[in-house]
């Protein structure tokens, strides 16, 4: 065994861009290669949007912050949003005309259970090894990891033990692949509401934020503490309804009209290379775009 040269590593730590400079800035240039990044959010925050956009951006050349590579999109929640991907890829090819058909470089694989995910790992590895294709795979997205683990297992001690040993197996394997082929791996996770008193284990704080709050509720990432040990970085997406533009109704003399607007934020919960940071974003037809604050 010989140690690796860090100076050499420094030049090869790559990031995969989100396709938006504002979001990239708050996460240090994008998703880091050779490590596991988890995106945590409740439904409707834009996890899938962000992942689709990321898998499109992976094929950008290195000079544009991409990986010059294809991506593998493993989806566990059905159906796969083909229509939205089509929409995004149209927007993508209009800003990057050199890619006439960007969806060609996204491979989609459905997975129905955690065991199946573990079983297809060799298949994934063989497709990663296939480097003579035009664009090798450098990005793996699993959307979502929570759906796999939240359905198959009971809430009994033996099942939970089986579940967490499977976590560690899968994340160990993914980390091995990420290291070997310098992949960027993105996993999405769901949240659970935090019930009951806010002391004891409920008050256990993981990461930069004192507590995670989305839609005015306190939430915490699904799959628990054991899983939190399996990922290298964790990003949290939140959304909150806010009242904006209150005065407008007064002009017409009618009753006060409250315009409500959803504001979405991306926070860095923990990451080995990032400080605490957050950024606001909006989702529009062209994809996920950061808002300059």
């Amino acid at each position: 065994m010989t140690p690796e040269n860090l100076l050499h590593l420094l030049q090869t730590t790559q990031k995969c861009t989100f396709g938006c400079p504002t979001i990239d800035r708050s996460v240090g240039g994008g998703i880091a290669c050779s490590s596991l990044t988890e995106i945590v959010a409740e439904s409707g925050c834009g996890k899938t949007q962000l992942c689709l956009q990321l898998s499109l951006c992976a094929q950008l050349p290195l000079s544009n912050g991409g990986l010059n590579a294809s991506s593998l999109y493993i989806h566990t929640e059905f159906p796969f949003p083909f229509r939205r991907l089509q929409q995004l890829s149209q927007a993508f090819s209009s800003s990057y005309p050199q890619f006439s058909n960007p969806s060609d470089h996204i491979f989609v694989e459905p997975v129905h259970s955690a065991h199946q995910l573990f079983d297809i790992m060799p298949k994934i590895e063989s497709s990663l090894e296939n480097r003579n294709s035009h664009l090798p795979i450098r990005l793996i997205v699993i959307d979502s990891i929570a759906a796999l683990f939240r359905s198959d297992f009971d809430n009994t001690p033996s099942d939970l033990k089986r579940r967490s040993s499977l976590f560690f197996k899968i994340s160990g394997k993914l980390k091995l692949l990420a290291k070997k082929y310098s992949l960027a791996v993105v996993l999405t996770n769901q949240v659970v509401d935090l019930m009951g008193s806010s002391d004891g284990l409920n008050a256990l704080r993981i990461g930069n934020l004192k507590f995670l709050c989305s839609s005015e509720r306190r939430v915490c990432p699904a799959l628990g503490l054991a899983w939190a040990n399996c990922v290298n970085s964790r990003l949290f997406l939140s959304r909150n309804e806010e009242v904006v533009g209150e005065g407008e109704g007064m002009v017409n003399g009618s009753e006060l009209v409250q315009r409500r607007k959803t504001r979405r934020w991306l926070h860095v919960v923990f990451a080995p290379h990032l400080p605490k940071s957050s950024c606001e974003y909006v989702i529009n037809r062209e994809g996920v775009v950061g808002v300059e604050s």
Binding site: S34, S165, A228, H273
Partner: protein, 360 residues
Amino acid sequence: MEVGRLPISATLRGKLISSGYTTLSSLASVSPSNLARELEISNNEAFEVLKLASHGRGLDRSEGSGAIVNGAETAWDMLHKEQFIPRITTSCADLDNLLGGGINVSEVTEIGGVPGIEIKRHNLFVRGNRIQLAVNVQIPGAFGGVGGKAVYIDTEGSFMVERALQIAEACIEDMSDYSVLLKKNAIPHQIQIEPKNILENIFYFRVCSYTEQIALINYLDKFITEHKDVKVVIVDSVTFHFRQNFDDLALRTRLLSEMALKLMKLAKKFSLAVRINHLVVVLFNQVTTKFAEGSFQLTLALGDSWSHSCTNRIILYWNGDERYAYLEKSPSLQSASAPYSVTCRGIRNSTSSNKRTKMM
């Protein structure tokens, strides 16, 4: 053997005895400059005294009057040795106080915490600092550093070179500030080290399975024999691979305790082999929940039997908005906790007081 028997002048002998140096072994770990300052004699004289003393000790040993078993030491000798064992600063004064001056060398220290508590940064930080010490050796009395290289064993893949570089740069800045303070007029040639050099002095191993991890620990003995200047071994984290694929818990316990023993042996062996060479082992652990007395409690992973394996144990946790370190286990220090903060420059003192004023 008594100091009185040394072939030195009566005044010197008097000074030695009045300062408390009555036996030769008490002179064993004093540096010439310290002795000179203490006795108010010239450096040359102090050097001469120490030379004679070490010669005298050699005679002592050949007479066989010292130890009964070869290699055994008296507790008095060990105490003296310990006083001069350098410690590795964490760059956070509060943490240093908690640990009695820094992370102990020639011992195994375990640090654990929830994800995102910056065990990694801490880690990096120790390493960055470690190299900081390497340079500080040239600056007399700066941090009392020992200087050396680091072995970093990464099992989780959370090591980010860009972060290491950041910390290395901050360290170099700190050092140049320090040297300016120390020598009233800045000497430019003092700090010639570049972040590049710091990174070159970190031996980084990425292990992807527990078999690799065990193999690497076995190989470390040879590696450190070849690279005598390795002073710190960091395993981040010891836990990860041992939490998968182990249905046979007895096997896991055996493997873990074997590994821990090897690490302890390493720490001891390379601290003794060369007097000034001390080896530090820092392990990082994950936390898990433990069901005890009807409620769930937070504890470090790998179970109770593992907790015997480390000399020191530090747990990192959040308290409100501040990060705290709690010394859970230590042979010589009492349990206590201290706040710290993680900045872009590495680990520093907690800045809670500043924050509070800002919030108002």
